[in-house]
Amino acid sequence: MLARVAENVYWMGRYLERIDDTARLINATTHILIDSHRDTGFSWPVLVDVLGEDSERFIKEEHSASERAVMHCLIAAENSTASIRYSCSQLRFNARCVREVIPRDIWEELNGLNLFMQEQCLHASNRHKRYTLMVEVIRRCQMVIGVMDGTMLRDDAYHLFNIGRLLERADMTSRIMDILILHQLLPASGPRGQRGIQWHAVLNALGGVESYQRYVTREDERSDVIDFLMSCRVFPRSISYCLDRVREEAAFLPHNDSLLATLEALRRQMDDQDLAVLDVEGLHALIDTLQSGLNDIHTVLMSDALRLSVA
């Protein structure tokens, strides 16, 4: 495969995952609001931070911190890199550049997802419609994954697509932990056992409520949500799981020495840290390390495995 094409396939994976994760986050946070008492002080612009944008700047530019303004930014805003609509355009753009390496059914699913989103994104005016729209977006993302699983050659393109998805997923999980849990929902700092947070809603955003429940009651009753999201090796949205899987996929790629080494270094840093003793400050620092580690993996993948000059 051509290096140029490889990069597009990787970005396809990243954008597809981002669309899926954002839709889940939107529905889950709406649930938090429905469930919560007024005094939790949950503020919508925090979601802008989760998507990697600056909420303070957002409030200043939009003159609003309302649910409506934030949801527009996350769903339908054409020029906001945080919006699902933007990610759908980018997904299709990247897919258009690599049509020759993906089977026709996958192209049709991706193209259909983008068409659907461009047409429907402005019809999420109330919470009910928004919920239905997000469910459909999630479903369509899963369709793409399913068709890929069933039809695509297990060659470099497939591995790069998966690496893109897994890195984006790890990144999103880390930001949800960092911003939603630590900043927003954790009333007081403290070691394990006292982190009384709204884990239910957060796990909801990650589709992990039932998995967590089963894991805690059967495997490790001392595990809390942070432990689970950080280090559960069998939960597909945990950091450990994502890094394990990236390593499996990276093993198939050419020129992967530095990529594997970078991955290994990050995994060791994560494994060496005993989460039980960390207070909130310590957890923040650990998540910072994690996020810069994920960045390094991206950079090394581009510069060494794909041999692209990184701007």
Binding site: L2, R4, E108, G112, A305
Partner: protein
Amino acid sequence: MSDVLALEQYEPYAGFFDELVETRGTPRPHALPIARFIAEQGGSALVERQQLLDDTIRAMGVSFTVYSDSQNIDRSWPLDVVPRTIPSGLWKRTSDGLKQRLEALNLFINDLYNDQRILKAGVVPASLVHESRNFLAPCQGITPPHGVWAHICGTDLVRDETGQFLVLEDNLRVPSGVSFMLENRTVMKRVFPELFARSTISPVDDYPRQLWSMLASLSPRPDDTPVIVILTPGIYNSAYFEHSYLAQQMGCYLAENTDLLVENDTVYLKTLRGNRRVDVIYRRVDDVFIDPDVFRPDSVLGVRGLMGAWRAGRVAIANAPGSGVADDKVIYAFVPEIIKYYLGEAPLIDNVPTFLCMDDKEREHVLANLDSLVVKPANESGGYGILIGPRSTEQERAEFAEAIKAAPRNFIAQPTLNLSTSPTLCDGQLEPRHLDLRPFVLQGAELYCTTGGLSRVALRRGSLVVNSSQGGGSKDTWIINDEG
């Protein structure tokens, strides 16, 4: 009940050949099953199917790119719900004629770049070739594999008022449209599965395999599986959809110029796993752009050293650089003579009558009859720069007259054709619309012609302009067995 009459009420234009009906209410024999289907379904069902068809095309992402306001916009491909029908007996003779024509044109091109026997014999004026900007000096002395230069040809055919096929032009440079021929059929099969059961309609889907085999037959390393690359100008090119579609269907690489490099007259593809030798390049870039060292130094689409590798016979390029010398509307006028000269045969398909402005007498005739003729520049494509006499203004005619006098060699003129029609769904009704046909002919080790081709239809009433960039539509082309 008015629905049932949709086709009964269809009124073909007087003086034109309609391909579906002989006269109002009388379908042609090979089109009877379709006519019956339309009558059964009725007009409103056709409108519904048209909607379904448009939705299918959007979902499939079949698009072409138009440039407007310096933006590139993907537009959905326009396909009419009513197929265009051609009886197989007629098609057999036509495709034989197309193969005959391409075979002769390739002998002609190879002769021009080598011995120039045809010029010495005075069959084609030597000045015509020597003054042609499509005659590329760096190609002289080369004989590509099988002596073939134009491997992929998209000939434009029209049918006159008697229904006879005529060649309108030969497209030997980088003809496009075949992906739409293939996708039109895919869409029609999804939308009209039951209609296909009523007639014997020839399939079209072996084209990608035929194209691959033809390209493979050019490989300089015939004993190995060839590495075949489609060279595209990139994602912003108007035909990018087709480039990626053909790469996908053939399973070959789609490369931009920066993905290729040449060392020691060998072309390599830069892959994730190192450089891979390239055997055959199907270029979708104009020949004068392929190598800035040899042709246009300002080309940002080319690959340095590519011409050297080709001249050394270490890579095949389709169509070979320089093929465009035979794709010139003045040369076109000589094709019947060219066929006779090389093959000793009469042409199986005629040309449209053509006046050469370089000839004093013919130019006088053209200038005196601008209001009834179609004037075309010798070297443009896409329907640009054409004067359609009966629809022109006095000022346009005056401008063309000046241009013709200034550079007579650059213009030809043809009578306004009575292009055939076919019923087309327009605002919920079936109306006659003019169409042409672009079959694709391949020549490598062997000759091949598509079953049918891409039918383009002028959607505006009375219009003869079928180009999709100028508001034309398309139809699926059905070659229907009428030979038992």
